[in-house]
């Protein structure tokens, strides 16, 4: 589990209250101020400050050589970011929405992920590919993807997904300093949902360390990103209404997974559920439940429940609230598992 300063810890640094997207922006700002080699590129990241304003103010501060509007071409963005990284820079490429990352899929899985290993360690690709992901904001079709499992299945890539402003900034800085390519998925549903105290200046939340958001003894629920909040709501409801004591583990890094924390929590509770927005089949929930039963079958008292998006394309916004795992579904699924 994370040993770094958590929100509220006195790091001596001044604090400001930021929401998640502001924290992302602050993370970029902080690193760019300190490291000239960090450049931001993507569609509308410059003057426009990003369609979600995640890069607001950076163009004005750092100029058009470091905050770069590119032509509309995702393979071009990621491919050229690989080249930028090879040339000694630290590019941060924005994909406007995760649904538009697929044209760059080949560059990510065939190259970013593999240049280190295929060159026997000679060439490395330290870069971050940021993408707002997930549903719930009534966006048009193809704007609500949550396909983290695709990237988790590709060795050589790291995948990170914060659920709080504090983590967003700290994980982003850690990702920017990481020697390997990181896909950084930002839960756009909660970009502006709440503010949190975020230290000014630099700090890292280390990669591959899950965070226990709520301690509990009856069941371990694993989740990340935007689904952390409805999971915590469900956990509170279950405590109040049914006296069920839920442990909520926010994975934060999806690849490489913090298997130790996952398994330890499970050994304590003996029951588990995974909550994610992606379709159930071959989603990351499968990996987690599969790992748990490999590592701790003898502790298992009930089937591990997957509370996930359905095996359909994301529907139009009219009914997306039925597609996403809502607190009510999460609660019901946890209860079923606890009562098994």
């Amino acid at each position: 589990m994370s040993s770094t300063a958590e929100p509220g810890t006195d790091t001596g640094a001044p604090i400001e209250k930021l929401n998640l997207v502001e924290a992302v922006c602050d993370g970029l700002y902080t690193e760019m101020s300190q490291h000239d080699d960090v450049v931001v590129l993507g569609e509308d990241v410059g003057k426009n400050g990003g369609v979600f304003r995640a890069t607001a103010g950076l163009y004005e501060e750092f100029g058009e050589e470091r905050v770069i509007d590119t032509p509309l071409a995702e393979a071009g963005i990621v491919g050229s970011a690989i080249g930028l990284a090879l040339s000694g820079m630290r590019p941060v490429a924005e994909m406007q929405f995760m649904g538009f990352i697929y044209p760059a899929f080949d560059q990510l899985v065939s190259h970013a992920a593999r240049l280190r290993s295929r060159s026997h360690g000679q060439y490395t690709v330290p870069m971050v590919v940021r993408a707002p992901y997930g549903g719930g904001i009534h966006a048009p079709e193809h704007h609500s993807e949550s396909k983290e499992a695709f990237f988790v299945h590709e060795p050589g890539l790291k995948v990170v997904c914060p659920s709080t402003p504090y983590d967003a900034k700290g994980l982003l800085i850690a990702a920017l300093r990481d020697p390997d390519p990181v896909i950084f998925l930002e839960p756009k549903l909660i970009y502006r949902a709440f503010k949190q105290e975020v230290p000014k200046g630099s700090y890292e939340v280390p990669l591959s360390e899950a965070s226990v958001r709520r301690e509990g003894s009856d069941i371990s629920v694993y989740t990340w990103g935007a689904m952390t909040r409805p999971t915590l709501i469900a956990a509170d409801n279950l405590a109040d209404e049914y006296g069920v004591d839920v442990e909520v583990v926010d994975l934060r890094t999806l690849s490489p997974l913090d298997i130790e924390t996952i398994v330890e929590s499970f050994k304590k509770t003996g029951r588990a559920a995974v909550v994610h927005e992606a379709p159930k089949t071959a989603g990351l929930g499968a990996e987690i439940s599969s790992t748990i039963q490999e590592e701790a079958l003898l502790h298992q008292e009930a089937p591990i429940k997957r509370i996930t998006g359905f095996d359909t394309p994301m529907p139009l916004h009219g009914v997306e609230d039925y597609y996403l795992p809502q607190a009510v579904r999460i609660q019901d699924g946890i209860l079923e598992t606890v009562e098994f």
Partner: protein, 382 residues
């Protein structure tokens, strides 16, 4: 379906060229350009085209305000671009296929999609994308440029099946030309010589990125050189010019002369007067004044002035049209707002036959709704 749309079989006369000077038929004041030939359209057709353009502009205003009122979701306005949309679709025959983006509301409407069907997906209702048989319009394409190889493929399929009189018209923006799919689609079109017309609605902006940062080529039209196909630049704010070049391109697609190749890239030079979508604020990245120059050449005004000059239109008719348009749009809104989406529909049409696991998921959702009520699902997620 557009009022009085009729098939027009005339052989059009416009030049296909890669000159950087766009083809133009009407001057900004509605007079005919020197040396230009006015396309052979009847008075009724011209009036109908005008009515549809007018309707498009009014629809745009209403849609923007519906969005502000929270009655529809994010909307991509088309004001300034309706002239090109209406004109390209007027050039189509009913059997021709249309591949639109999220912005071609008027192009779809003229080719047979009802206004209510346009509004439904904006209200989250999927059936709006299921156009009636015989209306050859694909659902809008949101991932940029992805429609281009598909449009090419449909044109190719029609050709392989001997249906070369079914041309395909594919819309996309200036930004789309940077995507690999544009390149691959147009290269295939050249190699397989398919009956397709590729219309680049160069509105000078891809959200906040201006045309000159999208590509270093002087024109979009010249990109056709890479594919061995012809191209033409046209004043996209001149509906008659757009009609003319599109008609010519469609005619060549279906009936190329000896040595001529079927596909054409049309660069319709225009301007997005408004925001990229209702979620966008263009004042952040461009000068408000920029639009003014373009507005002087407004397509609706130009057509109106021409029709007045020609004596086809007068104030009385104009007022009648306004009234009819108002009613049409109002009815469409009422219709679109009278339906709502059943959550269970999302499980339908994933595959022709619903897999067992999907059936279980559908039943699971039904049971939860039964148990907790729909209110429990409508909680604000964030």
């Amino acid at each position: 379906m557009s009022a009085q749309k009729e098939l027009n079989q005339q052989e059009p006369t416009s030049r296909v060229t890669t000159d950087t000077q766009p083809v133009q038929v009407l001057e900004a004041d509605g007079s005919v350009c020197p040396n230009a030939t006015v396309p052979d359209l009847s008075d009724e057709e011209l009036l109908s085209m005008y009515e549809d353009t007018k309707l498009a502009r009014r629809f745009d205003q209403r849609a923007i305000s519906l969005q502000r009122q929270g009655r529809i979701a994010t909307y991509a306005p088309m004001t300034g671009q309706e002239g090109a949309q209406v004109a390209t679709s007027y050039a189509l025959e009913q059997r021709d296929w249309l591949f639109p983006t999220y912005r071609e509301h008027a192009a779809k409407y003229v080719h047979g999609v009802s206004l209510a069907a346009l509004l439904k997906p904006l209200r989250g209702i999927r059936e709006g994308y299921a156009v009636p048989d015989g209306v050859n319009v694909m659902p809008e394409y949101i991932p940029i440029a992805t429609q281009i190889p598909q449009a090419m493929g449909m044109a190719w399929g029609n050709k392989l099946q001997g249906k070369v009189d079914h041309a395909v018209l594919c819309h996309f923006g200036d930004g789309a030309t940077s995507e690999g799919d544009f390149h691959e689609g147009l290269n295939f079109a050249g190699v397989f010589d398919v009956p397709a017309v590729f219309v680049c609605n160069n509105n000078q902006w891809a959200i906040s990125v201006p045309r000159e940062r999208q590509t270093a080529s002087e024109t979009i039209a010249q990109k056709a050189q890479a594919y061995g196909i012809e191209s033409v630049r046209v004043d996209g704010l001149d509906p008659l010019a757009v009609y003319q070049v599109t008609k010519a391109a469609l005619s060549k697609a279906k009936n190329p002369a000896a040595g001529e190749r079927r596909p054409t890239l049309i660069e319709a030079v225009q301007y997005r007067y408004g925001a990229h979508t209702t979620a966008d604020d263009p004042s952040v990245y461009r000068d408000d004044d920029e639009a003014e120059e373009w507005k002087d050449k407004d397509p609706l005004d130009r057509l109106q002035k021409y029709l007045y000059k020609e004596g086809i239109l007068d104030e009385e008719i104009d007022a009648e049209l306004d009234e009819r348009i108002e009613t049409t749009i109002k009815n469409a809104i009422t219709e679109a707002e009278s339906v709502s989406e059943d959550p269970e529909l999302m499980f339908e049409h994933v595959y022709e036959e619903m897999p067992d696991r999907l059936r279980e998921q559908r039943d699971e959702l039904a049971a939860l709704r039964e148990k907790y009520g729909d209110e429990a699902f409508e909680e604000v997620l964030e």
